[in-house]
């Protein structure tokens, strides 16, 4: 049986940071990175704007904590936020030492830019391909460590738990179609979010929330899943993201009349674009993402949006920045808009609409990234530690990967050193069962009539209509019912391809199986949270209700309808208060 000390599922930012942490701690520990794609394909690569970390003299620890907590509508656990903010700068400097090409000031120091919901500019950036540079820096650095072994294009199918401890996973080698157990003393899940639950998303095709499903089925609760972030500026049709940096640099959002409509939605009063104080932090276009996306929907209802072939849009106007600044600071925005929207933002405003972007909730972990199963850890977008609460602040996610990826690596290494090896014979029997399940249920599945993409599209359609930007009981219920139905129908899927070499029909089906579980957990969390907070806006329960819901939703796997209960939010220094932007 394949054996390592530590397994990392997922080779994106968090997974690679964890692997390097272990490589640094002890070259004797054998670390395996199991990823369904080559690590440099991971979706961290698509992050554009930057990573937040307090480094400038005019900024402070308190500022970053407060922005994060109020940005998350008081749902983040404040002990985790404090840890995160404290560790953020050193992680970003560490990345600099590894070669990340951060953009610089003329004196050679790292440059920062403002992002939405921040009272001071604190976003480190590498032009507007920060995620790309971050991921490649981590991946290339990871190649240096001989004890990091990679299983590229292996799809993890099950977390193996024996004697109450996590002891490895079973994984499918996509190239050969073989399912094998990989034994380990600790496992870290770093598989990213579940944006593909929705039809219109910035997320790449790989972001199917596999790790959430793995942990959920193994018995780890999923936390705060109802909080899904809609980013206000996606390109219509493709859903490709236009980074918040476009607004951080001074871009404005206007409706069909060229009017900066955000001022009508309690986001402050606009300053003239030529005013030296524009853009004002934490105001107007630099309000938080949830509020901006909600403002779009309200403006649409008011009739202020612009009809287009892929639904209504508003305009993101960056023309006043001029060609020079655009090319220097946000060249990727220009490239994407020109290529995929057919307009050059130097001369024309960019059509944009809200697009699903980020999974705030995820695998429930404590502040050390440990889950309830000893030996099982989670970090990154798939995890909910939680620092993002009801709405993530732009540019906190890249930093989160680094800070908590490292903590997870250290925790897993520590756990591996202090625990006995895996129980091989017990794992062998689990391996056999899983091999059978995958073979019978997928590779050699006979009959079946349900079309995989058809089921996926139905799921996405109901997620969008039932648990989108605004929600109500009736809509959520419909989605819950639909998901239950889809799960039943999934048993009858049709797989035409019975070959074993790089069979992507099977991997797509495995992804869908997991997505249906996660979608169900999400919808039931949304149904039970009878308040509006951050990205979870219920038109039937409009206010925030701290008395009853200043709590994390916890979805537990039952095999049927998930059971939902709650866990208190940890408050340290910042008691709940009104979330204020622009006033």
């Amino acid at each position: 049986m394949l054996k390592h000390d530590i397994l990392i599922i997922g080779g994106g930012g968090a997974g690679l940071r964890a692997a390097i942490a272990i490589g640094e701690i002890d070259p004797e520990l054998s670390v395996a990175v199991v990823s369904k794609v080559y690590p440099m394909r991971s979706h961290t690569v698509a992050a554009e704007g930057g990573a937040a970390g307090v480094i400038k003299d005019n900024d402070s620890f308190e500022n970053h904590c407060m922005d994060t907590i109020s940005g998350g509508d008081w749902m983040p656990d404040q002990d985790a936020v404090e840890l995160f903010v404290k560790k953020a700068p050193e992680e970003l400097i560490q990345l600099e030492h590894w070669g990340c090409p951060w953009s610089r000031e003329s004196d050679g120091k790292v440059a920062v830019r403002p992002f939405g919901g921040m009272n001071i500019e604190r976003t480190w950036f590498a032009s507007d391909k920060t995620g790309f540079h971050l991921l490649h820096t981590l991946f290339q650095t990871s190649l240096k460590y001989d004890n990091i072994i990679r299983y590229d294009e292996w799809f993890a199918t099950k977390i193996l738990v024996e004697n109450g401890r996590c002891q490895g996973v079973t994984a499918l080698e996509i190239r050969s179609g073989k399912v094998q157990a990989i034994a380990a003393k600790s496992v870290i899940i770093c598989t990213g979010g579940a944006g593909r639950l929705y039809p219109f998303t910035t997320n790449g095709s790989i972001k199917t929330g596999d790790g959430l499903a793995l942990a959920f089925r193994a018995g780890v609760p999923l936390k705060d899943l109802e909080f899904m972030q809609f980013h206000p500026t996606g390109l219509p049709g493709t859903g490709i993201l236009i980074t918040e940096a476009a607004r951080g640099e001074g871009g404005i959002l206007v409706n069909k009349d060229g009017y900066r409509y955000l001022q009508d939605y309690d986001l402050g009063k606009p300053l003239d674009i030529n005013d030296p104080d524009h853009p004002v932090k934490k105001s107007m276009e630099l309000g938080p993402r949830d509020r901006l996306s909600q403002a779009f929907v309200l403006e649409h209802e008011k009739g202020g949006t612009i009809p287009g072939p892929y639904g209504h849009v508003v305009h993101l106007d960056i023309r006043h920045l001029g060609e020079k600044i655009i090319n220097k600071k946000i060249p990727f925005v220009r490239e994407l808009a020109t290529k995929y929207a057919g307009i050059d933002p130097v001369f024309e405003p960019i059509p944009v609409r809200p697009v699903l972007h980020y999974t705030m909730g995820g695998i429930d972990t404590d502040i050390d990234t440990a889950t309830v199963i000893p030996g099982l850890f989670a970090a990154g977008e798939c995890a909910c530690v939680s620092i993002n609460g009801a709405n993530r602040l732009g540019s906190n996610s890249l930093t989160e990967l680094l800070v908590f990826g490292r903590i997870a690596g250290e925790g897993a290494a520590n756990h591996a050193k202090n625990n006995p090896g895996p129980d091989i014979s017990a794992l062998e029997s689990q391996e056999k069962d899983e091999q059978n399940r995958i073979l019978k249920g997928f590779y050699q599945k006979e009959s079946g009539t349900e079309n995989i993409s058809g089921l996926r599209e139905e799921m996405q359609e109901y997620m969008d209509s039932g648990v989108g930007i605004f929600r109500n009981e009736q809509g959520i219920r419909k989605t819950c019912d639909k998901l239950a139905e889809l799960k039943e129908r999934f048993a009858n899927i049709k797989i035409e391809d019975n070959t074993s070499t790089f069979n992507t029909e099977v991997t797509v089906a495995l992804e869908l199986e997991g997505m249906l579980e996660v979608a169900q957990a999400l919808s039931h969390c949304a149904l039970d949270r009878k308040e509006s907070r951050g990205s979870h806006q219920r038109s039937d329960f409009t206010g925030r209700d701290d008395d009853n819901y200043l709590k994390h939703s916890m979805a537990h796997y039952t095999g049927d309808i998930p059971k939902i209960d709650y866990k208190d939010v940890i408050i340290t220094k910042w008691p709940p208060a009104e979330r204020v932007y622009g006033r």
């Binding site: 050193e90 995989i452 070499t501």
Partner: protein
Amino acid sequence: MGKTIELEIFRYIPEIDEQPAYRSYEVEFEDDWVILDAINHIKDKMDGSLSYRWSCRMGVCGSCGMMINGIPKLTCATFLKDYYPKKVKVEPLLGFPVERDLVIVMDDFMTKLENVKPWMIRDKDKEKTIDKGEYLQSPVQLEKFIQFSMCINCLLCYSACPVYVVDNNFIGPAAIALAQRYNLDSRDDGQDQRNEYIGKHEGIWDCTFVGECSKVCPEDVDPAAAIQQAKVTNTQNFVKSILWPFGGKK
């Protein structure tokens, strides 16, 4: 809707096919469809057995490179309307073994990437701890290597390079460009170690400067320039090592 285009796709399923064959698919498309959209449409609606790699759809993950009418392209950034009404021939990237359909075996590149040591190598006396803060680097110093750091490892350059396609021993454009990315970084001192590998015959000297790698690069990395610059540096070092006292070393 209304316009229909024909895609002729390279198919090879090792357990079934002795030899690869081409299969045609008629796809209705919109003007804003990229080739990847059509391939996804085929997989979802017409033929679930078609295998290929893709993820980000925005030209940055590097997964979806294929030969389109004989030229390596990212299919997420290549529009059908630019080919219509002619048919589009889709094949796996040239120069690599084909695992299945449009999926290539990329083990060779992964090994070469690791061999160029694409990580910071610093002299011991320059190493500093995190609490001492960042290494200073002026925008000009950044400018000197940033272009070569934009490589997304999509491997289009390998498929465009006749030297690599004919002889896989060549280290190839992307790997050498990445070596050069670190060599030119003001924070790095690993040039000698990397040049030892890329300075071999199968490295920079195998390049005959066809220049197609730079033309097909979706990120304007210009690997051809990287290789020629490395040739100049290596030659200078060689000459220095013979003519200069102490081999030109301080």
